[in-house]
């Protein structure tokens, strides 16, 4: 057994564990935050899939961007995302993260989240119901198991491009180059 094969086996086991234990940091920026409590509580019970809320970015695996992001909140979101530990994933939640949704022509919201943070899974709808959120998590689980949820890696490789986009909309950039 060579190193490549043994690494493959380790990856399969680790991805299985990651798939069944997803700790979510729900960043309640927009109206989408109201759909998270029913997803987590008795009626839809996301915990049976291993999906659980995390208290801080350090403990979280998934950053759930629930709705539109203003140019003010995206700065915080970037800090939060960069404080999370690898492997980490981003779920864009609602139409606002895809194309701006009903705020497409607003002067202070961003339209396409993928230009600023690497999104692994989108959940569309305005609002997406808890069923849609659960299906989004199922989609993320599939991607993790297949090893295709590599947004964080993409972010690291193309950090300059993302930084340029971020700095274009954040006028007062008073942060270190990478927030550990």
């Amino acid at each position: 057994m060579n190193d490549k094969n043994s690494q493959k086996i380790v990856d399969i086991i680790q991805n299985w564990a990651r798939k069944h234990s997803i700790w979510v940091l729900a960043y309640g920026t927009g109206c989408g935050a109201i759909e998270i409590p029913p997803t987590m509580t008795s009626r839809y019970d996301a915990e049976r899939l291993g999906v659980r809320g995390a208290a801080t970015p350090r403990q979280a695996d998934v950053l759930l961007i629930s709705g539109y992001l203003t140019v003010k909140t995206i700065k915080r979101v970037i800090r939060v995302y960069e404080q999370m530990q690898d492997p980490k994933y981003v779920i864009g939640f609602g139409s606002c993260t895809i194309n701006g949704g009903m705020y497409y022509d607003s002067y202070n919201t961003i339209n396409v989240l993928d230009r600023y943070l690497p999104v692994d899974v989108y959940i569309n709808g305005c609002m997406p119901r808890p069923e849609a959120v659960l299906s989004g998590f199922a989609q993320l689980q599939k991607r993790i198991a297949a090893g295709r949820a590599t947004g964080a890696q993409h972010y690291k490789e193309n950090l300059e491009w993302y930084r340029a986009n971020q700095k274009k909309i954040i006028p007062n950039w008073v942060m270190p180059d990478y927030n550990w």
Binding site: S21, E47, A55, R58, Q59, D61, P87
Partner: protein, 298 residues
């Protein structure tokens, strides 16, 4: 042989503690009319946490904090006898180990407090303050209960107390009931489940002292917490329920004891810190006083 036995003891404590934690989540879910995660969910979580990368640096104490917790758990595990007669579970008992145990059980939280202090996270600092305040609360009835049984049986060793129970044929739970009640009420605080989860307070303090710890740190804290839960339950079984002769009896007795904080947590909401301390200095301390009176007079 002794080293192998120590490893076996640790593995047993780890597996049982993790499984109890998973059952706690399952029972909580069923009480809330949910399906809940599988009982082995904690093992998956632990494995995932261990396989995460960690790129956090706040200084040496921050790295050592979870290690202090682990050391405290393992030393406690080595002192508490798991079964009454078994060569597979050696222990380092000596005259006066009950007093040593009182110290070593607070060693881990103190080390964790130092580590959490170095992160500079305000949530950690508040969590540490709350945790140490609450410890002052529940340590008093706990120490009173232990002092009472030490006076009553003229011994300061756990094996001595177990031998005394075997000799008299009754469990200490029945021969000194007030000490048992005070110790059980103190145990609610030791586990830190609701309503005494003022330290963790997930929706309020963002998990308190653990808020800067992710990945491998959290794995260490989780496994040491599981081992420590098993040790605490075993200690209560040894002191008050006459110990256990085999693993099955141990599991039955510890699980029955574990249900007390679990079910109590599911029927109550979080106290504020001062309410929690006042609670511990109320009835639990009163029962502790009764226990000492009983031990001195009778």
């Amino acid at each position: 042989m002794n080293i192998l036995g120590a490893v076996v003891t640790f593995l047993l404590a780890f597996v049982v503690g993790m499984t109890y934690g998973g059952l706690n989540r399952k029972i909580t879910a069923r009480i809330q009319n949910r399906k809940g995660p599988p009982f082995y969910q904690n093992f998956i979580d632990a494995f995932k946490l261990a396989s995460k990368k960690s790129a956090i640096h706040h200084g040496a104490m921050h790295h050592l904090g979870p290690a202090f917790l682990m050391v405290s758990s393992v030393v406690t595990l080595m002192i508490v006898p798991v079964l009454t007669h078994s060569q597979w579970f050696p222990n380092l008992n000596f005259q006066g180990d009950l007093i040593f145990l009182l110290y070593i059980m607070t060693f881990g939280p103190l080390g964790m407090a130092l580590g959490a202090g170095q992160t500079g996270n305000p949530n950690s600092a508040i969590g540490v303050t709350r945790g140490l305040s609450q410890m002052v609360g529940f340590e008093i009835p706990w120490v009173m209960a232990l002092v009472a049984i030490m006076i009553q049986y003229h011994t300061t060793s756990i094996t001595g107390l177990m031998a005394a129970q075997a000799q008299s044929g009754t469990w200490l739970m029945f021969s000194s009931p007030f000490a048992f009640i005070a110790a059980i009420l103190a145990m609610l605080g030791m586990f830190g489940y609701s309503p005494f989860d003022v330290v963790i307070a997930p929706a309020e303090l963002a998990s308190g002292p653990a808020s800067e710890n992710g990945g491998k740190y959290l794995f260490t804290m989780m496994s040491s917490g599981s081992v420590f839960a098993f040790v605490k339950l075993t200690l209560y079984v040894d002191l008050f329920l006459g110990g256990a002769d085999n693993i099955i009896m141990l599991l039955i007795k510890t699980f029955a004891l574990y249900m007390i904080p679990v079910l109590y947590s599911n029927t109550s909401v979080r106290y504020r810190t001062e309410q929690s301390i006042r609670w511990f200095w109320g009835w639990p301390t009163f029962f502790g006083l009764l226990a000492i009176l009983q031990a001195v007079i009778f």
